[in-house]
């Protein structure tokens, strides 16, 4: 199941587990001249195409992929944005696009599982299982006191980053999002814009993830993230209830207008589309909007991202026209 397809969640959109692993005795990618050899070693460990795992994976050499294909993988969160410009990098993607194994990113291996909705346990269990399969055939860089060694020390220890994409329109609208960031930060959980560090929270999408990877177990990370997530869901629901109680007509008007604009506009910038789609997701979540187009809002958003809608070929104006057309026909 591709995480953004047929995904009608309106608060916890998706869950992601990422494990950073490196080959023992091989320099980290930033200091590695022969990335091809390291890549071959991992490919062999994954069973060379014969294991059950290997049969479920498609290998993509990013050096041989066109920019549009790479851009799409990044939009789907199957590779990191940094890999769009990398060299000597590749990725395994599972048939159901739930799992990807990025090779020669910051670390030799970045194993990722991404699932729709609030699915920390399932995502972690799958990541852990695949990790064990790989570890049967390869020796990871591991230190008894530090744990898994990584290119950047902030990832060492468990090597795990668990994150959830949250959609928090009511907390944003009522300006309570600052409290969320502060309270999560106090528990060692970072809150950022959708595409990781340094990006803003366009469309009211936030990513929360663990900051600490060392001196804690994977289970502890998961449990802490669950606690914070449940607390934020509760805060968002309360903020929605307040909006509904204090200004039901204004709320309905706002989300319905946004839907009307998406269904009729002839030009839509990426940023405006995200904001309007966020409104529609809120409207659907609160039962105000019941109409349903060919695809759900979240898929509209991903499929109308600049790199996908433009195919790397169109200028901004043409993209805005094509985006409006796509959304108009599908939402």
């Amino acid at each position: 199941m591709i995480w953004y397809k047929n995904n009608d969640n309106d608060i916890v959109i998706s869950t992601r587990i990422r494990l950073a692993r490196n080959l023992d005795g091989v320099p980290f990618p930033n200091a590695l001249s022969d990335k091809a050899a390291a890549t071959e070693k991992i490919k062999a460990a994954l069973g060379g195409g014969n294991s059950a795992l290997a049969k479920d994976l498609d290998f993509i050499d990013l050096d041989k992929s066109d920019p549009e294909h790479k851009a799409r993988l990044a939009e789907e969160h199957l590779i990191s944005p940094q890999m769009l410009k990398g060299k000597g990098q590749s990725v395994y993607v599972s048939k159901d696009r739930t799992m990807s194994i990025m090779l020669m990113e910051e670390d030799h291996i970045r194993l990722q599982v991404i699932m729709a909705g609030n699915a920390l346990d399932e995502a972690y269990d799958l990541a852990d299982k695949i990790d064990s399969v790989i570890e049967e055939n390869v020796t990871y860089a591991f230190d008894e006191s530090f744990g898994y060694l990584t290119a950047c020390p902030t990832n060492a220890g468990t090597g795990m980053r668990a994150s959830l994409m949250l959609h928090l329109p009511a907390l944003t609208l009522t300006k309570n999002i600052k409290n969320v960031v502060a309270s999560a930060g106090g528990m060692g959980i970072a809150v950022r814009g959708l595409y990781g560090e340094g990006t803003s929270a366009e469309g009211n999408f936030y990513q929360i993830s663990n900051q600490v990877t060392m001196g804690v177990t994977e289970k502890e990370i998961i449990e802490k993230l669950k606690t914070v997530t449940d607390r934020i869901i509760d805060m968002e629901k309360k903020a929605r209830a307040v909006l509904e109680k204090n200004s039901p007509n204004e709320l309905a008007d706002k989300v319905c207008r946004s839907y009307g604009i998406l269904k009729y506009a002839r030009k839509l910038s990426s940023s405006e589309a995200k904001s309007l789609i966020s409104d529609v997701m809120l409207g659907r979540g609160m039962g105000i909007i019941k109409e349903k187009g060919k695809i759900l809002p979240m898929e509209c958003m991903i499929m109308s991202a600049p790199s996908i809608i433009g195919g790397g070929k169109l200028g901004a104006d043409e993209r805005d026209i094509k985006r409006a057309e796509f959304i108009r026909e599908n939402i």
Copy 2:
């Protein structure tokens, strides 16, 4: 035919002819204590219910009408806004609501014909015919040198005000409307907001009318107004062509978004509704919007006016909600 029903004109919306007449030897209404007697005299002249004309007319005593009924007559332009607050006034309205004869307004008789579209000749011919019928049975205040005498000297002479309601969105958008006002003014034609003097041009609706009533014949007034109207239509069409040539996507986006908002909003102020409806009329006129609701935009505008949608009972917020509901379901 009610002028605003099934009216798909997008530049010249309607044509109105108004003749001011007074009874000979009776003080003008502002100085008249016994308005009832003057009213009876005119009622008798109109045939007392037996003539063909009288059979086509419904008599409405405005003192006995509830505020909602009067407000609706004003929105339909069958009585003047001033008559909402008057005393001792009444109006005859023809079955097809093309004609009204206001009694004891500023003058004893204000005969009005209102038709959809650009119809100066037809409207004048009808007004002239009715005027003759009335004059067969009553002596008008008339002076050989001044012409028809009226309460306000600016109406004396022909007693005629011919006006057209124009919808000039492109001239407004391109800021050329000032040239229109100046050039029409130079020919003795006034350009004003929709509801006459002192009102702004909400929704890009303007009323043009003759300023001079004395020293010219009715035919001369009509011909001059036709010339100015044709010139303005031409200017508006050219302005639309420029918009279509220079920014077709932005134009389509603007009118389609307005349609989307009208079809989905849950709250609409009167002023916003007019502005959005103006966009939709422009979009229909330019062939950009082809969808058609239960009723045409102009009727939506009239039927969602504050006095009609609120029925004199609702507050502004409730009216905005009811207006959005009415427009959403009908446009």
